[in-house]
């Protein structure tokens, strides 16, 4: 009971502080939009490749849901910065000297990242709409893309929070974010249909959470949605979020040992 209440209070703190400067959420969307428009132009004709597999002739329609996921993924990996700032400013030690649930402290970081990812996902989708992207499954499709964005941001936010607690250094955080960022992005079908990539990448991508998100979001945008695959990937992302949040909560012990 206390865990739920504490989580609610801590999420409330994150949401309130976030909404105090809403302009940042919007400004951070500029970069993925540059990806969307530039890649959209650069690879415009790849949908004509022999072998196909894109499920649409409009590359930007193929790309838009993946950009929402990519943005959520990047946002998640960087979100540990918020934890580092709370650690540096002694906010976390102050909380740790109270009976507050440790899970609430990590869960609120995860929810914060998921919240940002869903709002940004919505903005990217709205702009994609203006660029001619149509979502085949309508309202449910919108909902699923947004939820997927949150569920991709969440496990990486938990990982990022754990790294923040273990290293407490921004430089390490940046190194880790860069180290996992691009490989996970390229070992997925984010930019190109999966049957156009080498076999080993096809195999690896099955274990890549970023690819789970890309698949779920793309399935609902393109015609011929495989709802089983959507459900499976969303379920996997959800399970991973729980597991990673558990790991992050556990790292509080290591953090306290170092105090």
């Amino acid at each position: 009971m206390n865990v739920a209440r504490d989580t609610w209070y801590m999420v409330g703190r994150q949401a309130r502080n976030l909404m105090r400067e809403p302009i940042w959420i919007a400004l951070l969307v500029i970069q993925p939009l540059v990806w969307l428009t530039l890649y959209g132009q650069l690879f415009k004709h790849v949908t004509n490749l022999p072998g196909g597999g894109f499920g649409t002739t409009s590359y930007i329609t193929f790309l838009a849901p993946a950009i929402v996921v990519m943005n959520a993924f990047f946002g998640g990996t960087w979100s540990g910065m918020a934890m580092i700032s709370d650690l540096d400013r002694e906010v976390i030690p102050r909380f740790l000297a109270t009976p507050v649930s440790r899970f609430a402290l990590t869960a609120s970081q995860v929810v914060r990242a998921a919240l940002i990812a869903t709002i940004q996902g919505l903005i990217i989708l709205l702009i994609s709409l203006a660029l001619g992207v149509r979502i085949d499954t309508g309202f449910e499709g919108w909902l699923i893309v947004i939820v997927t964005a949150g569920l991709v941001a969440a496990p990486f936010a938990a990982l990022s929070t754990a790294i923040a607690l273990l290293t407490r250094k921004e430089a390490t955080m940046i190194a880790v974010a860069n180290f996992i960022g691009l490989p996970l992005l390229f070992l997925s079908s984010t930019l190109i249909a999966i049957n156009q990539v080498p076999h080993w990448i096809q195999v690896t991508s099955r274990y890549n959470p970023v690819n789970w998100g890309v698949d779920a979001a793309r399935q609902v945008v393109l015609p011929g949605t495989d709802w089983g695959s959507v459900g499976e990937h969303i379920g996997l992302l959800f399970a991973l979020t729980l597991a990673m949040t558990g790991v992050a909560t556990w790292t509080f012990r290591a953090y306290q040992r170092s105090l």
Partner: protein
């Protein structure tokens, strides 16, 4: 009854022995000061007592609750004001206090009125609904103190409450803390590396050096243990061995210590000793740069018990 019992705590970080058998007790309602330079182990002691970290060995109890065996019991009993500032800078003063109260299991009208009361008590009522980012250092620190008091804890830890404040803010913080201590019927554990602060606020204090307590008592008792005045003579050159012999031969001189070109003497009466010392040195042709006499201070106590000058040790460690 003792509010805090600390017995033979030890803790090391790698090769550094942060706590080396520190022991002390704090009675209920007392303001107890831990005085010592940076790195003496004060903050580590407070972290152990705040359940933030565990000792390697030893025992610590807060109102009969063991910090290792019953951390949540301790957490409900204590208010912790960390070194630096623990405020959430993106929230308002009131929001900070409301959240702190909620995670200490308070709610409703009771919490709201407590928050209003504290905002008044620490004198930040007018800034209550402004975001903390715009607060001055002194205001932030007052909010920190209020955060430690929300749930009416029986014991409060103030870890270096005035470090980083300008002298004016420091003095007004002392007044504030003195008033709060009286009004809230609290046991306060204060750490400081300002001798003046310990003298001003603490009923009783312990001088800490290298992870253990060197001496403990009321500020007055400690000062009285160093009877007489202190006279410091600064020589123009380094002819200290001669000067020392001359001063030691005079009447009423108890002990002489040499530090570089400084000769510190304990004397029965400073006003009578100074002319004697100066004329004796003059007769031997030893030139004096400066001379100073003062009543015993905690600085002298510190020097006596640790054999080191407080500010020097502080600097050496900070560097």
């Amino acid at each position: 009854m003792d509010a805090i019992v600390v017995e033979d705590l030890r803790k090391s970080y790698g090769d550094v022995q942060a706590l080396d058998g520190i022991s002390f007790t704090v009675g209920e309602g007392e303001v107890f000061g831990l005085l010592g330079p940076n790195g003496a182990g004060k903050t580590t002691t407070v972290k152990v007592l705040a359940t933030l970290t565990k000792p390697d060995s030893g025992r610590a109890e807060v109102v009969m609750q063991d910090v290792v065996k019953d951390p949540n019991g301790v957490r409900r009993t204590i208010g912790y004001v960390p070194q630096g500032s623990g405020v959430d800078r993106d929230a308002t003063g009131r929001e900070n206090l409301m959240l702190q109260g909620r995670i200490q299991r308070m709610h409703g009208a009771q919490l709201k009125s407590r928050v209003n009361e504290l905002l008044r008590l620490v004198g930040i009522e007018e800034a209550a609904d402004r975001v903390v980012r715009g607060y001055s250092g002194g205001m932030k620190r007052r909010l920190d103190v209020a955060l430690g008091l929300v749930h009416r804890p029986r014991v409060v830890y103030l870890d270096e409450p005035t470090t980083g404040l300008d002298p004016e803010a420091r003095v007004s913080m002392w007044e504030e803390l003195g008033r709060i201590a009286g009004q809230e019927a609290l046991t306060i554990l204060l750490t400081t590396h300002y001798l003046e602060e310990a003298d001003h606020l603490a009923n009783r204090l312990a001088i800490v050096s290298r992870g253990h307590v060197v001496v403990e008592g009321t500020p007055n008792r400690l000062k009285q243990s160093r009877e007489g005045d202190s006279v410091t003579v600064e020589l123009v050159d380094g002819s200290t061995p001669e000067a020392r012999a001359i001063i030691e031969s005079l009447n009423g001189i108890r002990e002489v210590r040499v530090e570089g070109r400084l000769l510190r003497s304990r004397v029965e009466n400073g006003a009578r000793a100074i002319p004697q010392i100066l004329s004796a040195l003059d007769r031997s042709g030893i030139a004096v740069d400066a001379v100073d006499s003062h009543r015993p201070s905690l600085d002298d106590v510190y020097l006596h018990y640790t054999g080191r000058d407080f500010s020097e040790e502080d600097e050496a460690i900070t560097e």
